[in-house]
Symmetry: C2
Subunit: 318 residues, 2 copies
Amino acid sequence: MLVDASWEEVQTGLLKHSRLLAGESISILEAAGRVSSEDLIADSDLPACNQSAVDGYAVADESPTGKGQYYITGHLDLGEISPLALKPGQAMGVLTGGNLPLGGRAVVPHEKVEIQNHYLRSREVIKPGNNIKPAGEDYVKGSQLLSRGSVLTPGDIGLLAAYGKTSVTVSRKPRVAVLCLSKHVVPWQSLPEPGQIRDSNGPLLSALVLQDGGLPISIKNVSKTETSVKTVAAELLEQADILIMTGGTYAEGGNEARRLMEQLGAEIIYWDVPVQPGSHTGASVRNSQLLFALSGNPAACAVGYQLFVAPVLRAMQG
Amino acid sequence: MLVDASWEEVQTGLLKHSRLLAGESISILEAAGRVSSEDLIADSDLPACNQSAVDGYAVADESPTGKGQYYITGHLDLGEISPLALKPGQAMGVLTGGNLPLGGRAVVPHEKVEIQNHYLRSREVIKPGNNIKPAGEDYVKGSQLLSRGSVLTPGDIGLLAAYGKTSVTVSRKPRVAVLCLSKHVVPWQSLPEPGQIRDSNGPLLSALVLQDGGLPISIKNVSKTETSVKTVAAELLEQADILIMTGGTYAEGGNEARRLMEQLGAEIIYWDVPVQPGSHTGASVRNSQLLFALSGNPAACAVGYQLFVAPVLRAMQG
């Protein structure tokens, strides 16, 4: 257990207990912002074939002067494949992103040619490879498209689509439950009686968890529960990766959060950290689940979340 | 129609056609990141009553020296209401965030008192209001909690919960459909034939739309459609606020995107903008729906989206 530790030491200690969650396969259309849990390798070149980089004319060879005259054998539409290979002295119209005819060794942009009677003359020197986007220029077969642990951007989603991937394996979202231990705090949907206040920490934490890629699964209050607090907490831990308790963390009040963790058989990782607000805070681990105790004061609760829970949530996703 | 306009002028022109979408009521638990479409006014003070700001003792008055001796009449737990008002010379134990007993005019922190036989003596000068958090210190009844058009933060969600709000009215998400007009481009789930490529723009745009708070509702390709392109586009416009077409934007290829917009009776707002990549782009308006034509090249498509679609998506949400 960390005693008299700084919040930086506590963060480091917590990350040692943060296991990486298993992956789940989801549609690429829902995957932006999620964390890839696989390395993805290109199974083919992208583009698959040599393409024209401009609208213009593919030519078969350079002429002796580099500015030769070519017979135009036809035009290729986007997606069309030339049935015949270009021979020396021949040219074929091509479009940006369109396939090159076999034998095409350079492309002359349409604004650089003069055309007369099916013959074109280039106004610029033609060099092999000019204005050709070669197969594999974006990605060569066998190169890495995605690395495990990277956050998927919209650009990554487009790349996955270009490779025909319909799904991708991403880290499962950490499931987080919140349990409010303050007996004078009622659920936010309830009408408080005199002396009671509504729970704002449950919705606050739920929004923060969503923002950090977690899945809030439950917000419970002990004020209205008829079963024991230990039973409620144990039930939440059947589904949650992380349980955040708020309130009941101060020694003068009996430190219910810490007693509850001990009753649940959790091993305390740290307790109390010199930060203001929010010094009354702690965490424990139980079967690789993490239990946090944060102050019941909303500002202190938010500070404790950002310092201690948020880094763990992100680490669990990779 | 904007002719020879810069992309900044085009953005301004587009924003004039961007209507604010109607509001929808959603649970506060799902509202973080959404845009409030209402002003929300506090219907009571927060906190509702005077509270203690520390763990300590509420006292009824200042003694003549300011460091008097007080008889401790009892202790209030959090949420408890004192049945009796404090009289001069009396003190009562209180906790941080707990209600003050009636008649309590200051609180002495517990580390600043000496206690002997139910009497406490303060080691610091007591001034009225010391360590009291007065009713309404956070929000006074009638003050504004949220303003229309603001993006809801987790802190806002906590505040709504503290006021017992279970739902909030936010701008509806703009519904966006994508239609790929390039005939050699097949859906990304399909196996392309020689000369064809897979659609990466649909999934790319879908991820970008999600990131900007929109709702991607459909990705269609004309390559496999048996009905006319106009019919497909008209069907998408029955549900979408925004239709993004990709490909078919260049004059040499017949400018299918522009012809389609005209066939649909849409009024062209701009066409072609001097940006690289992505100069072949345009937009039109039809019954307050916006239709965009973006280049089919993925990089140019992403540029066109960021310059022209993203600002509109954000404006529609407030």
